[in-house]
Symmetry: C2
Subunit: 348 residues, 2 copies
């Protein structure tokens, strides 16, 4: 029998169809490499230099409104532009390119410069969920838009260039690579079983209780069996919905609660503002039947051993496949053990 | 006509079949995010604390020999182990795992603690190429080994835990994800055209002369049309060989020269020891007909704008697809303009 906590092994990511290498015996190797700076600054509630704070001037000269909940605007340095002409390029099938139209937005999660999601109260997080739903609905009205990527980079270590709590939405004319992979796997499963892949997966995880962190009325948060990042997690809706527009008021409140609890548990692991990239995967829009899709949200946090020692996805990982040391079961157990009261509040 | 330097567009990576998003208009956005520490230390030629220096003691108690060229040994903290039993696990096709056998080796490139590849002379790099070839040949004699990944993580920013110049080899019982992608694409092209995909690609790039950096008797170094990292490059052999064992003495000398010149050009961009992960992709072993494979070596360097500002492959990139700002043509041009004399030598 395969011993998950002793034997090096690969696990299949059923959402992408790709493998990850697990080396459980290796978690005790010493670390002599790069250590990240620990950012312990206490930020002010309002920063006159921040382009996200209410009333401040942005790069293009616009003045932010005096918003009280969350606030959304088109990114002043958008990676995608709405007025891109539709062009193709192909030389001998060897050089292939295609123009990509899109809209990039920034969402400030709170007027408070000094907060992060785990430090916001549930009502404030609900306002963010509402805005995500509204934006998704509005962006999908453009019939040329096919995919809407909602995500957040949290922490300087994750390339986040401003500590004011915010996320992004990139909407575009084609379905991106990672979403295509998940589309194929879910379509295939749904065709065979008339049940969504993630419904079946969550049912099995709820039976096993080995990787579940949060289990409430409408959502589950777990460490996927195939997690690549040390403390990678996924939030899945219990109801099979294809995208965020289907969530009811009760479900949205529950999602806010789940987000709050999960990110508090993260911060409590190393008593630090836990960096991550998080993002929702859901059905593409204006793109035919999507009933095989099941809404979910990934969290990819890089920290491994402490607030300053992260996992590097480099050489072998870039050339071959992702590799991890601690097991997903160990990570789930540690997350489950954390308090649901934020460490900063406890110290007060 | 698609304007590569103005319009956001996607390009197809013909080796993986996956897209990368290029946002050329965005290269001028200001950077307010994390800046890396600049490591300017002058290292000693010998460090008594280094586990790679000649004559020193390693974690397992072994004493390194007094080697004069390069030196190879089994990693004291191997991610893969040779004595892993062969086991499988499958619950409802939702939880799938399989044990993975392997051997992980470390190669010290030089007895000198203070050097890096671009600072070594060509003869010394030839000794490294010889050792790679020898190790590949020897590892492939184990009939259970299917793939041999030769790679190097250079620089603390790339997770390298010891500055002594070294690389790694991970050999394993199954073909990893990235190699499987390249296998499928190359097999498909070879079946259709009776010519290797990379022979056809290099021929076209040599005609265009827009992304070629080095072109000598036996190798080409170029920025691939689909490069994702800012200064990503690829070394391709002009002769269609499936793996490193086929290289003649003359070709090995030319590969050493190419490696030296490319890494010197890298260091000269920002007058810094340029970090990267580099690795060869080549045919799997003990695995039937591999004539569609064409040996090549990828360089994935993270620096974007200076010695301390790197590209972050985070939120959108993790959830959707890789994204870049400067164009591959701009990167190729800058690399072509660099001197082939190392900046440290010039300053003497
Ligand atoms: O083996 P090292 O140098 O200690 O470790 C480095 O390279 C490995 C292979 O790419 C990665 O798995 C590690 O995350 C990285 O820190
Ligand atoms: O848009 P930002 O926050 O300036 O930039 C950050 O997120 C983007 C989307 O994931 C990435 O492309 C950038 O590399 C990263 O630094």
């Amino acid at each position: 029998m395969l011993n998950f906590s002793d034997h090096p092994h690969t696990r299949l990511n059923i959402l992408t169809g790709e493998k990850v290498l697990v080396s459980p015996h290796r978690s005790k190797r010493p670390w002599q490499g790069q250590v990240e700076d620990l950012v312990l600054e206490q930020r002010p509630a309002y920063d006159p230099e921040c382009y996200l704070c209410p009333g401040n001037k942005r790069a293009d000269g616009t003045i932010n409104p005096d918003y009280t909940d969350s606030f959304v605007f088109v990114n002043d340095f958008s990676a995608l532009l709405q007025d891109t002409p539709n062009e193709q390029y192909n030389d001998s099938d060897l050089l292939q390119a295609e123009s990509e139209r899109g809209i990039c937005k920034v969402i400030a999660f709170s007027p408070r410069h000094d907060l992060t999601l785990p430090e916001m109260d549930q009502k404030a997080i609900e306002a963010v969920v509402d805005l995500w739903q509204q934006e998704f609905t509005d962006l999908a009205k453009n019939d040329w838009i096919k995919y809407i990527q909602i995500f957040e980079n949290k922490g300087a270590i994750m390339g986040c260039s401003n500590p004011h709590p915010h996320g992004q939405i990139w909407a575009q004319g084609n379905v991106p690579v990672e979403v295509e992979k998940e589309d194929a796997q879910q379509k295939n499963y749904f065709a065979k079983h008339s049940k969504s892949l993630l419904s079946a997966y969550v049912d099995l995880e709820l039976q096993k209780q080995e990787r579940i962190i949060i289990d409430n009325a409408h959502f589950v948060a777990l460490v996927p069996f195939w997690a690549a990042w040390p403390y990678e997690t996924m939030i899945v809706s219990k109801r099979h919905v294809i995208d965020i527009t289907e969530f009811t008021t009760v479900e949205k409140a529950d999602l806010a609660k789940t987000l709050q609890e999960l990110t508090i548990r993260y911060d409590n692991i190393f008593n630090t503002s836990f960096p991550y990239s998080a993002g929702m995967h859901q059905a593409s829009v204006n793109n035919g039947d999507q009933s095989h899709w099941h809404w979910h949200m990934h969290f990819y946090p890089p920290l491994l051993r402490s607030a300053t020692v992260k996992k590097f996805m480099v050489g072998y990982e870039m050339m071959a496949n992702p590799q991890r040391d601690i097991t997903p079961e160990f990570a789930a157990d540690l997350l489950k053990k954390q308090s649901t009261i934020h460490y900063k509040t406890r110290q007060d």
